[in-house]
Amino acid sequence: MAAHTDTAPGQAGEAAWTQDAILAAVATLVGEVIGEDYLEGIPITMATSFADDIEMESIEFVALAERVRERFGDKVDFIGWLAEMELDEIMGLTVGQLVGMILACLTS
């Protein structure tokens, strides 16, 4: 289980998620999946590419999907989101796209 902080937004009655808060949370999850030491020198930004910048392996991507579900809940349909993608979209997938999807799911 990904750790929840006491002040995490999105909990019942708490302030709504913002893009920056989701980005920070996703960056933490990515670090947990691939190992913080491997992220040294790779800033996680909206433009970070999962394939080119992080070289994320499929098993790591599956682990990230699971952590995203644990962190943000079932409203975030990671698998359904991926299922709509063309090959080129998957190749170019960025952290920003994931953050945007999560934000859209949580605010819809």
Partner: protein, 404 residues
């Protein structure tokens, strides 16, 4: 007597099973030949008939493709596989494959799932064809979760056929990766472990091992005490490969025992300096002979190495890199015969722990032995030869049969 033509890509893992099946068919008095690039010649038995397809596809060209794919993973690797390897391979070989069919007049063409030129030309010539699936990847619905990716692959096959002069309506029918007649899968349902998703009948014959030319020499006197582990990653030549070699040397050094790292010695030296004293580094090994002496195998998940290890009841540590390797790693894990680890970000401690598990926890070896039993029951090359004989007999009975 039947006449069988195997159409194969320049990939040892895809050629080797056909060699075993071809040897069995030849033993029964059938005429057997191969169609493939000249680089497959050394993989075939001495004197085997090879109709060269794609004369220009030499070691340098195959090496260049391997070099370009080295850093690729996931979706990028899939795109490269089709756009830059399999489709160009088909274009470069179709005319020669067609000539081979005219020359040999085969009763059955056996087309590898990755040499779609064989299926294309057999269909066009109205010759019965059978698919050879040397990896389970296409049998488990790999694109179920990514339907648009699956559609993209199908479109590559349609576009290829149209560009080769196949009428659009014919190109859209069926699937060059799946003969309507029969798909021979060189694995078992026990190993695949999930229901098959295929548009045509699939026969599981297990790995077809043997019938190959002798492997290279090996310094047997350097194999010392157990445990004995072989690390074989196929051809890796990028930074991640170097990291893996370094991690493997450190893990094996700490493990004790006596081990074999299959890799170019220069690459290993560049990655990690002097390997530990208990690790023999060899660029190539006589794998089948070596497996008789081993306790565990670390592999990137090539189907041949995985199946050959399991056939010997040897548990695995699988570090998949790209293509079908993730699917193969998952089936090994599901069957309980091994552990999956990361490739690019492997740590020595992680690899050491995985090796300690498969060496010390008996369930991994038990599962590997159970799979070895499933392979033996499946029949291997003998079962595949039986199936091809039956298809050939049926083809004889219906000389005007169109399409497979």
């Amino acid at each position: 007597m039947a006449r069988i033509l195997f159409v194969v890509p320049p990939l040892a893992g895809h050629v080797n099973p056909t060699v075993a099946v071809g040897a069995e068919l030849a033993r029964r008095g059938h005429v057997v030949a191969w169609s493939g690039p000249p680089v497959v010649r050394p993989l075939l038995p001495p004197g085997a008939e090879l109709f060269v397809a794609g004369e220009a596809i030499d070691d340098a060209m195959v090496g260049a493709v391997r070099h370009r794919t080295a850093g690729m993973r996931g979706a990028a690797a899939l795109k490269f596989l089709w756009e830059d390897f399999l489709v160009p391979l088909a274009r470069a070989t179709v005319a020669d494959v067609a000539d081979a069919i005219v020359s040999l007049r085969p009763d059955v063409v056996v087309s590898d799932q990755q040499t779609v030129a064989g299926a294309l030309e057999a269909r066009r010539a109205g010759v019965t064809w059978v698919t050879s699936a040397t990896t389970p990847a296409e049998l488990v619905g790999p694109f179920e979760a990514l339907p648009k990716v699956g559609a993209w692959v199908r479109q590559q096959l349609v576009d290829l056929q149209v560009s080769c002069g196949v009428p659009v309506e014919d190109a859209a029918r069926g699937d060059l990766r799946f003969s309507d007649e029969l798909v021979i899968a060189f694995t078992t349902a026990e190993l695949v472990g999930v229901p098959v998703h295929a548009p045509s009948p699939v026969a599981f014959v297990g790995p077809a091992i043997g019938g190959r030319p002798d492997g290279p020499d090996f310094p047997w006197e350097q194999l010392g005490p157990h445990p004995r582990v072989m690390v074989s990653l196929g051809t890796v030549n990028d930074a991640a490969g170097s990291r893996f070699y370094a991690a493997a040397c450190e893990a094996l050094g700490a493990l004790g025992g006596s081990h074999v790292l299959v890799a170019p010695p220069d690459d290993v030296a560049a990655s990690t300096g002097m390997p530990p004293a208990n690790v023999v580094v060899r660029p190539r090994v006589p794998q089948l002979a070596l497996l008789e002496h081993l306790d565990a195998v670390v592999t990137h998940g090539g189907n041949n190495t995985v199946c050959e290890a399991l056939a010997h009841g040897i548990p695995l540590v699988v570090a998949p890199i790209r293509d079908d390797q993730g699917i193969i790693a998952e089936e090994v894990v599901r069957a309980g015969a091994g552990v999956r680890v990361r490739f690019g970000r492997i740590r020595p401690a992680e690899l050491h722990a995985a090796l300690a598990a498969v060496l010390e926890v008996p369930t991994y070896r038990d599962a590997a032995k159970r799979l070895a039993g499933s392979f033996a029951r499946a029949g291997g090359a003998v079962a595949a030869a039986d199936l091809l004989e039956a298809v050939a007999a049926k083809a004889h009975g219906a000389p005007l049969a169109q399409e497979g």
